[in-house]
């Protein structure tokens, strides 16, 4: 199975789960923060390829990681987000903080 958390050249790549809710989000934040500290991560890429559901808990994950790395000039990227995920990011004002790529 492909590893969901990978660090390549100071970029932490996170392949998010199918459902991002209260339960899964705390685990994502915990694992991401561990790698950010441990592996000299500058930027975080959230890959939504597998994600079919996200509630406001997901906003906390993205905003929290943004806060952690942006003070050192790091960026947060979102890839493969469908129209619904984009709408949720937009509603929360996250589109001003994170870079949403095709």
């Amino acid at each position: 199975m492909e590893e969901a958390y990978k660090v390549i050249d100071h970029y932490l790549m996170i392949r998010l789960p199918e459902e991002i809710d209260h339960r899964s989000s705390s685990e994502i934040s915990r694992r991401a923060d561990h790698l950010i500290l441990d592996k000299d991560v500058s930027h975080v890429v959230f890959d939504f390829s597998d994600t079919k559901f996200m509630d406001s808990s997901g906003i906390g994950v993205l905003a929290g990681r943004y806060r952690k790395i942006s003070c050192f000039g790091g960026k947060v990227y979102v890839i493969h987000a469908d129209s619904r995920i984009r709408r949720i990011l937009k509603m929360s004002g996250l589109t001003n903080l994170v870079e949403i790529m095709e």
Binding site: E19, D21, H22, R23, S25, S26, S29, F53, D55, S56, S57, I59, G60, V61, A63, G64, R84, I88, M91, S92
Partner: protein, 147 residues
């Protein structure tokens, strides 16, 4: 046709996913669009998560979900008997959260409001909270595939 259901569950994080799926399954008889199913699932998730985290502070308790379908209208109530809120208006403001330590975004009520057609919140400190939501289903604009 009128249809209804009542679901009582323990306020554990494990049950948040179950609550979403149970309500989604209940409304399928109305032939909702995928978008409408996602809207309802998101609203259920927000309300149940609020009960788990805020009302019961992750120590468990009873959550009751009541759904009433009348025609195309879904009427849903999500009730807890937890600590309740002093100031409902403030709690409903976007980005307001009492638990920044848990990275809660403060967007829960804003999402319920955005994804449902009606939202009302009744709460009493020490007694609990009831979130009442309504949504008209099967209301997506009909798209003519030949055009």
């Amino acid at each position: 046709m009128r249809n209804r259901m009542k679901l009582e569950l323990e306020a554990w994080p494990e049950n948040e996913g179950f609550a979403r799926v149970a309500v989604a399954a209940f409304i399928t008889s109305l032939n909702p669009t995928m978008e409408e199913i996602s809207d309802v699932k998101t609203a259920v998730s927000e309300a149940v998560t609020n009960a788990v985290i805020h009302a019961y502070e992750e120590k468990g308790g009873t959550i009751v979900i009541r759904c009433d379908l009348e025609g195309e209208l879904l009427h849903m109530e999500i009730e807890d008997f937890g600590k309740g809120m002093e100031n409902v208006e403030q709690a409903m403001e976007p980005l307001f959260t009492t638990r920044p330590d848990l990275e809660r975004s403060g967007m829960g009520f804003a999402f319920m409001e955005a994804f449902m057609d009606g939202l009302e919140v009744e709460s009493e400190p020490g007694k609990g909270t009831t979130v009442i939501m309504e949504k008209k289903l099967g209301s997506a604009p009909w798209v003519d595939s030949e055009e």
